[in-house]
Symmetry: C3
């Protein structure tokens, strides 16, 4: 297939757990609920595709897989799976650091270029923990985001988890801030996302926005990217990437169709849906312009997820392109351009290179 050897830019992922995992520990990371299961499309994919990377036959059972994993140790497993992904560049969200490899450790294991995505809520919560709800807290948050952004290639918000995507649109901070360990105040969050939008546009950094599917903290119907319509209209100078999007990926495709500054990925959905990835990708490409769709794995904790994202994305995109070629709806040259744009070209166009991130990229 055209996608067999295509190099990927994984524009949104996390570190891997820096520890050996028993079965409950592994399963806790194998789904978005409190406990995932091998008895799922994702579980089948782990056994089918990851087992051979650990020198096991395809479809090895869960216990044998985990035993081999324990034998090899987490570093070797991570190095193998991350290395096998064929990913040349990883953009890593460092906002959920607990127990995960940090940026340089991840880079050493993965063996590709690494860039940092700064999570707005984490920076704000850190500042609030330090200075409390004083009058200067908002200026301090802005200063902290600016500082963190200097070494980074993008910003990210998880406001979908906190108040949903119909957060208030505002550029002024609320009069007071009640210190919270976990920021949930709508007025503060609305201001914070607006700050991210302003700084992203100023610094040439894309703003990633979690939408759609995620863990059970979410009220999924509040995470429909269509709820961002007014926000997207208000920030035409900002490069936006809607993350994950499933099951609202058609809605995200509409937004990336009508707003030229809006991009999307299927993130988390790809490793989870297994063979269903072909259908999901086809639905996104009904309306998404080819410039707008990016690849990511959203791998978190388990390097299996980083690897499966890559394997299943190549398989799904390869199958789709084969069908298009078979029906004579695209030429080989155009198909190659499509594949390379989705695999890495679109991401490389919108993100600054990791070296020169301090200099805003002209839009």
């Amino acid at each position: 297939m055209l996608t067999d050897d295509i190099t990927l830019t994984d524009h949104h992922c996390h570190g891997v757990t820096a520890a050996d995992l028993d079965r409950p520990g592994f399963e806790a990371l194998l789904g978005e609920g409190p406990r995932g299961s091998f008895d799922s499309a994702l579980g089948l994919a782990v056994r089918r595709w990851c087992a051979p990377v650990l020198d096991l036959p395809p479809h090895t059972g869960a216990d044998a897989y985990l035993a081999r994993r324990a034998d090899l140790g987490w570093r070797e497993v991570a190095a193998r799976l991350l290395g096998a992904a064929g990913t040349a560049r990883w953009l890593v969200d460092t906002g959920l650091p607990d127990g995960l490899t940090d940026l340089s450790e991840f880079g050493a294991l993965a063996g590709g270029e690494v860039g940092e995505i700064v999570r707005l809520e984490q920076v704000a919560e850190q500042v609030i923990a330090e200075v409390g709800g004083t009058a200067k807290v908002f200026d301090r948050i802005e200063a902290a985001v600016r500082e963190r952004a200097e070494g980074a290639v993008g910003l990210k918000t998880v406001v979908a988890y906190r108040v949903g995507l119909d957060f208030p649109l505002t550029s002024t901070p609320p009069p007071t801030l009640a210190p919270e360990h976990r920021l949930t105040d709508p007025a503060t969050l609305g201001w914070l996302v607006g700050l991210g939008a302003r700084l992203g546009a100023e610094l040439g950094l894309p703003l990633q926005i979690h939408t759609g599917f995620g863990d059970p903290d979410l009220r999924l119907h509040r995470a429909d990217p269509l709820l961002l319509t007014d926000f997207l209209r208000a920030h035409p100078g900002l490069t936006v990437v809607l993350l994950h999007c499933w099951p609202f990926h058609r809605n995200a495709a509409y937004l990336s169709h009508v707003f030229e500054h809006v991009h999307m990925d299927l993130g988390l959905a790809i490793p989870h849906v297994g063979r269903g990835a072909r259908a999901v990708l086809g639905e996104a490409l009904e309306l998404a312009p080819f410039r707008s769709l990016l690849y990511s794995s959203d791998g978190y904790g388990l390097p299996e997820l980083h690897y499966l994202g890559a394997v299943l994305w190549r398989a799904a995109l390869g199958k789709l392109v084969d069908e298009w070629l078979g029906d004579d709806v695209i030429t080989v040259a155009d198909a190659e351009a499509l594949v390379s744009g989705l695999a890495h070209g679109n991401a490389e166009r919108i993100y600054p290179s990791s070296d020169t991130s301090r200099k805003p990229k002209p839009r």
Copy 2:
């Protein structure tokens, strides 16, 4: 196919009309609107699959089909179609009894084991009709639900039809109750569903919740199972089954992914969508853990629906599994386990057996 001879547990259906039907009477039951039509995916399926069970050639026209049906009489037609479904156990919602076979009559015709699902709204409306809006009505409703639950294997709510799935979460009854023939008061319904959740958890009975597609009484956008998110969070000790779900079946799959106590079926959608069932099933299995998906026909009135649910479910699941096997994403042994779980194993695990339903099943 792997599914050809698989035995089904139809965990949600209704009785059949205990009378011969003319064409308007038949068509009134052939769709969810006031009048269904043979000119639909469902109509084609009746002619294709049910006609041979009545000794007619496949694709027999509607008039000839109905003439043969009249010749045989409703009892013979029901016995043939229910018998041909290959369903070993039927869980029957007895809450819409008008003109339908009762539980024992249905069991005699269908020839399998039968269990009862108690509809909360029907019990409550019966009590209200007897005692009116007195202070003791809420205790009386609880007592009546407990009594009915003793012989039953599950509870069900149709609150989606009454106020939608964003009903108020409450464990206390409202101060007063205005007697209604058809209960539509949000506060009373919120309390009633909460009562069902409490008793279901206490007695080990699953609570079935109508979601998605149904008759025109529904405001379908108020029947999105995502609106249940807070309710599901509030009742982790209750086994829940989301019924039907279409066109929100991906949303239901998300809920069954993140909440271990949540299950789903495609119910009504399967007989209606005809050959489209393969796609719908594939979308559900993108995210639904294999433990969480159940089979039902939601057959009501016409035994054709009970039969088509079974035929189309086997065909759709068989096709999906064949594709997975062909792509080497699953082994034959795992595919067999998947098929038997979806066909009957998952239902048998969560519902008490009909004999011992008085003893709560440990969760």
Copy 3:
């Protein structure tokens, strides 16, 4: 395929731009955003299917395509593409006239029968511009709609763009009307749509309602056809056609299933989604009765859209029907009836003929 030579009624389209277009001008019409792109499913389809109609090889590049287009001139291009569509009758929304061919010019180029669809908002805005917010303005609007309706075959509303489909249901005009160039007052719009419903029922004219996908003025989540549920219940004597519907086409199919007076099309979605049309059409036909689905291109500005709508509709429907025939779910005779109903029969049944439109069609 069964659909190869089937004649179409394009029950919803617009005129074509009466001017030669440079690349920015062409791209401005190639998508729903401010600028479309050849780098999309739609762009591939233009190059694949339209190029041969202009004597170019399939897959001709964008610049060569536009150069040839300029050589031929807009009239010749329009005549070729509209003529090649195999469309016998075009129902044209004349409510966005700027720079487009008028009805007779379009008819001369297209070479088929032409009927007019009257856009309620345009008539109302014209009257308001003339008489302002006086007490008699509502009577004047009704009179103007009646007058325009005399020569027309249908009415249309774009209330989805103005306040969304949850507009107020009312048959009485608001006490006052603040003159607006572009009508956005909910109370006035609610009354205006109600007027359209009343006149449509009285005069036997279908009311087309924009739903789903459209240009960036839209808040797409306010354009879900399910928000029309109460409106549809309130007007059982009116023939309604839900336009476009994507990505809510399953929701529209539900409405056309439960309400006998409701019809739908996939309009705009068909030319845009390219090879994805097969899946979208399959999803609509899961639940839509065969009597209820109509064909339209929603072609606007570029005759490429009118042509691609026809080509892609025939291909998608032909493929779907071939699959059904291959699986023995339908007979050839039934498939022929299905195809001719969807291609033109359903539209011809619900719209008056263009000649006799002054006489209400009995329902």
